[in-house]
């Protein structure tokens, strides 16, 4: 096995006084697409936010590409080559689509050029002058993913991109994500939609009460759907 790109060990995180993560352990190999699955409130988003350094306090170890991220500030973490797409998408209403798309600065070589982004996300092309938040939910999600691809980050944290979208849009997003994987991006994806998750992922990390309780390969997930469904409570 190669050296993991991301290695999370004994990660604990707090929001003020309340503890949300109770010792997370998992890793992600280069080029892999790993999902975090689990019930509402399990700590999936908090895990991504902890990697990005946007929680109150975190302890343990997050090693990325050989460097320790605990103790680094958010903008420094971004500059190591990680990009984050939040659950609520965070499209800026005071910026139009073009401004939203080109807001993240190019930090390293290896990002996708703007013209290429528009080819890859053709829906955005027509709406460049619209206010960012006037887009449909699906278009906002495309925009939120597209804009983090230009920075040169090769490791993407995507928080529930399928959430609240119509099946046909979910399918489209799924294709986009598969394409990103084929372009060599390493992806850590939070997902509750199992049928979506199993179409794109290599491996699934099950989170419960701020801890990793199980890890399954995609084929194991297929084989043991019943067990996984009890984790998710569906």
């Amino acid at each position: 096995m190669t050296e993991p790109l991301l290695k999370v060990q004994n990660l604990e995180a707090w929001y003020g006084e309340s503890k949300a993560l109770h010792g997370m352990n998992f890793d992600v190999q280069p080029g892999e697409l790993v999902t975090l699955i689990g019930r509402n409130g399990a700590g999936k988003s908090t895990t991504l936010r902890s990697i990005m350094g946007i929680v109150g306090k975190r302890t343990g170890s997050i090693r990325f590409d050989g460097a320790e991220l605990i103790g680094k500030r958010t903008f420094q973490i971004a500059r190591t080559g990680i990009a984050y797409c939040p659950e609520e998408r965070a499209i800026f209403s005071s910026l139009n689509v073009a401004e939203n798309l080109t807001l993240p600065p190019v930090l390293k070589a290896g990002g996708i050029a703007d013209a290429e982004l528009l080819r890859q996300f053709p829906n955005l092309q027509r709406r460049l002058k619209s206010q960012g938040t006037k887009l449909s939910g699906g278009e906002q999600q495309m925009l939120a993913i597209a804009r983090i691809l230009r920075t040169g980050a090769r490791f993407l944290l995507l928080d529930e991109p399928s959430e609240g979208l119509a099946p046909v849009v979910v399918k489209e997003i799924g294709e986009q994500i598969r394409q990103l994987k084929s372009q060599g991006f390493t992806i850590l994806l939070v997902e509750q939609n199992l049928s979506f998750a199993r179409k794109v992922a290599d491996r699934h990390v099950v989170v419960e009460n701020g801890k990793v309780v199980d890890t399954l390969t995609n084929s194991a997930l297929e084989a043991d759907m019943a067990r996984v469904k009890t984790y998710l409570g569906v």
């Binding site: 990005m52 946007i54 500030r73 958010t74 903008f75 973490i77 971004a78 500059r79 990009a83 984050y84 939040p86 965070a90 800026f92 209403s93 005071s94 910026l95 401004e99 807001l103 993240p104 600065p105 930090l107 206010q131 983090i148 920075t151």
Partner: protein
């Protein structure tokens, strides 16, 4: 009723209103940037304006640096002072309610003005006009310097507005105002950007002070008197609305000038009457767009 009012008086007061409005616009612009982008109600704005005037005066008297040099140096000095204030008293309060930073800047006013009064006394000190003379416009005599103030402040206001609305830096600022942690997750040092934004707004106040030095007397209290009007302008224009602050600044200056013609007794009240009416009719400010009223 108004037949005793001459055209001459009217145009003269309009022009004076425009000159005062130039100061209102520039100062409320800085205040609106600071409030709109970093959510600090900068009570020290008037004191920082006063410091700009004093820096210009000291540069001239002690180093022989004339007005035109002070126009560049003083805003930088005052902006640097703002940065120091931000790092020492505002930064620790950044994650608390806005009321704390408001009180901190208010305390700063008392300290700054107190120290300046100890050092320089409270009487106004003169600063010679760098552009003596003037031109007779027919309805009034316009000193060249006041014409310069109107044009220069207009240029500064427009340039600042363009910077915020049309540049990449401005886009970072507007986005960081909505979701600072997301902008930071793009690799931008948002805390430093916030600090520099405060320094920039303070630098604008300092620039206003330099502009004011040859017109008004340079004194430790010159900012406090103006501050009340500036706050009213920012409230009328819509707290944090950049364009609103600029337009309302000029508008209030002109309205104030016109009231002096038609009803001189009320000229000091006019601003506050407008503020109350504006707040009742458009509580978010005359120039606030629906999205900026969040």
């Amino acid at each position: 009723m108004f037949d005793h009012i001459s055209m001459q008086l009217l145009l003269g007061q309009l022009l004076i209103g425009l000159i005062n409005g130039s100061f209102y616009a520039m100062l409320s612009l800085g205040l609106a940037i600071i409030f709109g982008l970093i959510h600090v109600v900068n009570f020290a704005h008037g004191a920082q304006y006063m410091l700009g005037a004093f820096v210009a005066l000291l540069l001239l008297n002690h180093l022989g640096i004339p007005y035109w040099g002070a126009l560049i140096i003083a805003p930088v000095v005052v902006g640097a002072f703002g940065l120091l204030m931000e790092q020492t008293i505002l930064k620790p309060l950044r994650h608390l309610d806005h009321l704390y930073s408001l009180l901190a800047t208010f305390a700063a006013v008392l300290i700054i003005e107190g120290l300046m009064r100890l050092e320089f006394g409270s009487t106004g000190l003169p600063y010679a006009s760098p552009l003596p003379g003037g031109v007779n416009l027919g309805f009034m005599f316009l000193p060249y310097y006041r014409g310069w103030v109107v044009i220069f402040s207009l240029v500064v206001c427009i340039a600042t507005w363009l910077l915020i609305e049309k540049t990449k830096l401005g886009a970072y600022l507007r986005a960081a105002n909505e979701r600072p942690e997301i902008v930071e997750s793009f690799g931008i040092n948002v805390p430093r950007m916030m600090s520099l934004t405060y320094a920039f707004g303070v630098g604008l106040a300092g620039l206003g002070g330099v502009l004011a030095a040859p017109i008004y007397q340079v004194s430790p209290s010159m900012g406090s008197n103006l501050m009340i009007v500036i706050f009213a302008v920012v409230v009328i224009g819509g707290m944090g609305s950049i364009l609103g602050a600029i337009l309302t600044g000029y508008l209030i200056g002109i309205v104030e000038g016109l009231t002096k013609v038609f009803y001189p007794e009320a000229s000091n009240l006019a601003i506050f009457v407008i503020m109350i009416v504006a707040l009742i009719l458009r509580p978010n400010g005359l120039f606030s767009s629906p999205e900026s009223s969040r």
